[in-house]
Amino acid sequence: MQNAFGEPQQVLLLGGTSEIGLAIVAAFQQTTLRRVVLACRDVAKGESKATALRRDGLDVSVVEFHGEDTASHQGLIDAIAGDIDVAIVAFGQLGDAAVTATDVAAAAELCNVDFVAAVSATIAVGNRMRQQGHGAIMVISSIAGDRVRKGNPVYGGAKAGLDGFAQGYGDAVASDGVHVMVLRPGFVHSQMTAGMEPAPFATTPEEVAQIALAGLASRRRIVWAPKVLRLVSIAFRHLPGPVWRRVPF
């Protein structure tokens, strides 16, 4: 059960090894958090993350979770004991833009993870929370899905789809007590972006986590991290098509 400040007692992290997701869990750990479920495709990697979290007496369990295996999502989520107060839909892949923009199979595969699986997992969590009559879902979208760039259209397109879905779904489940928050980070230093040239306003998982928690406490529906990206987004949207096409990313 969340308290008056929206602080959770049990959190589910889908993509249990995500650096942004784990930073959010760590931030919750400073509050009333008692139990965490890490849903990971690589259980061994998940266990190593769990060990680090357990040091402070947190009750952490690791379950195997494969995004593509959408048929397993509902069962996996329903098997979690106790109320899920907050779920973070953090799994995703950037993909190799050069490959996904030309290789049909690779493009479909990326969409399967970043869009299809994320939609499926969000609905599975939502179903559970509707029965509970309360709960919050943080869906990690991206600035890449705001105005999709030529540099990575498949990733951006999948995030755009996820972002739109999450907003509409949030409106659909609000009357059942479920709050959906769309989190839109910019460039974040994590294993996903390792070795890449940082974009302007690059940030850290820790900063994203602080912004995400503040957004949740005030029950925001859309949260930019860092906040300045909201303005950047407005600027991007107003660039005429031919100019946008020539932007070098």
Binding site: M1, N3, A4, F5, D83, H134, G177, S218
Partner: protein
């Protein structure tokens, strides 16, 4: 049955439940029988601040109350009343007949069932104890649909588990309570403006026992030598002939003067500067020392009820109330906490300090002989969770505890530490509800059911 978002009076953390209006015990029993794994819970007038009257994903029962069902036995000064009847309705019936409720909280819009379930206290706690002390018997709807009649002399264990049991033993359908005989509907009130906390604690320690009712309002924004400046009001029911005669000495007709509109800016109106100004004016307005002032029952006991829906003033994020008690000899903790709150500049309207008398046998009853401080703050104040956590530690380390009817912030450990008899209560509860049909958001958050 409609799926409805519910909050407490503080309007934080809404959760959705199936709300059912039930006319009588039979209908209530039938509804409870349909409860699924999220269980069922009675709700009164929703005046508890946090999640005590919420049951997310489950059933919430609102009982109808008919004032026709009230039976007053004047010679014995007792009344038998439906659990869903409000103190407001009851006062309108009994004051003109020369009686007062044994305990009233700071609002009259609470039900008798909840008064028992929260074992509420009033300004007379140091003399009369809490509400449960004045219950002769009650009818309780159990999870299996049966109704038992219990009291301090009949199934005392279940009775005391129900007093303060936050609705988790069953639904109080009716109760027989002892009333206070009064000669007039007026109060005789003494007021003292007190410059600092130490003087206040001394005044209350020495003088409270001369009065039936006593409470102090503290300005938590005052600093330095003004730290803890306060206004102490104490009084009693006025005797016949004490004041200039009214036509009808027992006339009673409290009114709501204004109501706060639904559309308030989301940030709320209670900016720090506005609160500070209000507190300043309020302190200056109080007389430095005045005796035997005539006041109405509503002015003395229920000043906030003059403003309808005042909880909206805090804006869409709502507000939290924080109430704790520490043993009498731990006034150092009260001092420390008043200092902390003043230093952190938390915009809080007047806080309330009260000296409690002895507690009662109920394992989850809040009052104990000690100092209880109550304050509220917008839940949007940055750093508030951490500040409360700091206060929690001070309170619990001193052997104190927090009031469930107000709480919206604690975790299970604080509940266990504050209420060392929790396990005993759980055993009594479990025996009458092995399937855990009675549930609430409060019980989930604090893991009260074990």
């Amino acid at each position: 049955m409609t799926r409805t978002p519910l909050t407490g009076w503080g309007r934080t953390q809404p959760s959705v439940a199936d709300v059912v209006d039930v006319a009588d015990a039979k209908a209530a029993a039938a509804a409870v029988a349909t409860a699924g794994c999220r269980g069922a819970l009675a709700r009164g007038l929703g005046r508890s601040y946090g999640d005590a009257a919420q049951n997310s994903g489950g059933l919430v029962l609102r009982m109808a109350a008919a004032s026709d069902d009230v039976v007053i036995d004047a010679p014995k000064a007792v009344a038998t009343v439906p659990g869903a009847l409000s103190i407001d309705e009851l006062l309108r019936m009994i004051v003109p007949r020369g009686f007062f409720v044994p305990v009233t909280p700071g609002t009259r819009f609470v039900t008798i069932g909840a008064a028992i379930a929260s074992d509420i206290h009033g300004k007379n706690h140091h003399v009369d104890g809490s509400f449960g002390n004045h219950v002769e018997s009650l009818d309780l709807l159990l999870a299996d649909g049966s109704v038992v009649s219990i009291g301090p002399d009949r199934d005392a264990q279940l009775f005391w588990a129900t007093v303060g049991g936050m609705g988790l033993t069953g639904i109080v359908l009716a109760a027989t309570i002892r009333l206070i005989p009064i000669e007039t509907s007026k109060m005789s009130v003494d007021t003292d403006r007190v410059p600092d906390l130490d003087s206040l604690l001394a005044l209350m320690t020495e003088g409270d026992d001369d009065y039936r009712y006593s409470v102090a309002w503290i300005d938590l924004l005052a600093k330095g030598s003004n730290l803890g400046r306060s206004v102490l009001t104490r009084g009693d029911h006025a005797r016949l002939g004490q004041f200039a005669e009214h036509e009808d000495p027992l006339a009673y007709g409290p009114r709501q003067l204004v109501s706060v509109p639904a559309l308030i800016p989301p940030s709320g109106l209670l900016a720090h500067s506005a609160v500070a100004m209000f507190n300043e004016l309020w302190y200056r307005k109080a007389p430095s020392h005045r005796v035997q002032e005539e006041q109405s029952i509503a002015t003395f006991f229920h000043p906030l009820d003059g403003v309808g829906a005042w909880n909206r003033l805090y804006g869409s994020r709502g507000f939290v109330q924080y109430q704790f008690v520490v043993p009498l000899d731990r006034d150092d903790v009260v001092r420390r906490i008043v200092q902390l709150l003043s230093a952190r500049r938390v915009a809080t309207f007047l806080a309330i300090l009260k000296r409690f008398g002895p507690g009662n046998p109920a394992p989850l009853s809040f009052p104990m002989p000690g100092w209880t401080l109550t304050l509220d703050s917008s839940s949007a104040v940055p750093g508030l969770p951490a500040l409360f956590a700091e206060l929690d530690t001070l309170v619990l380390d001193a052997g104190g505890r927090h009031y469930f009817a107000k709480d919206a912030c604690l975790g299970p450990d604080a509940a266990r530490r504050g209420y060392p008899r929790l396990a005993e209560w759980q055993a009594t509860r479990q025996a009458v509800d092995p399937q855990q049909r009675w549930q609430s958001d409060l019980a989930r958050r604090l893991e009260l059911l074990g």
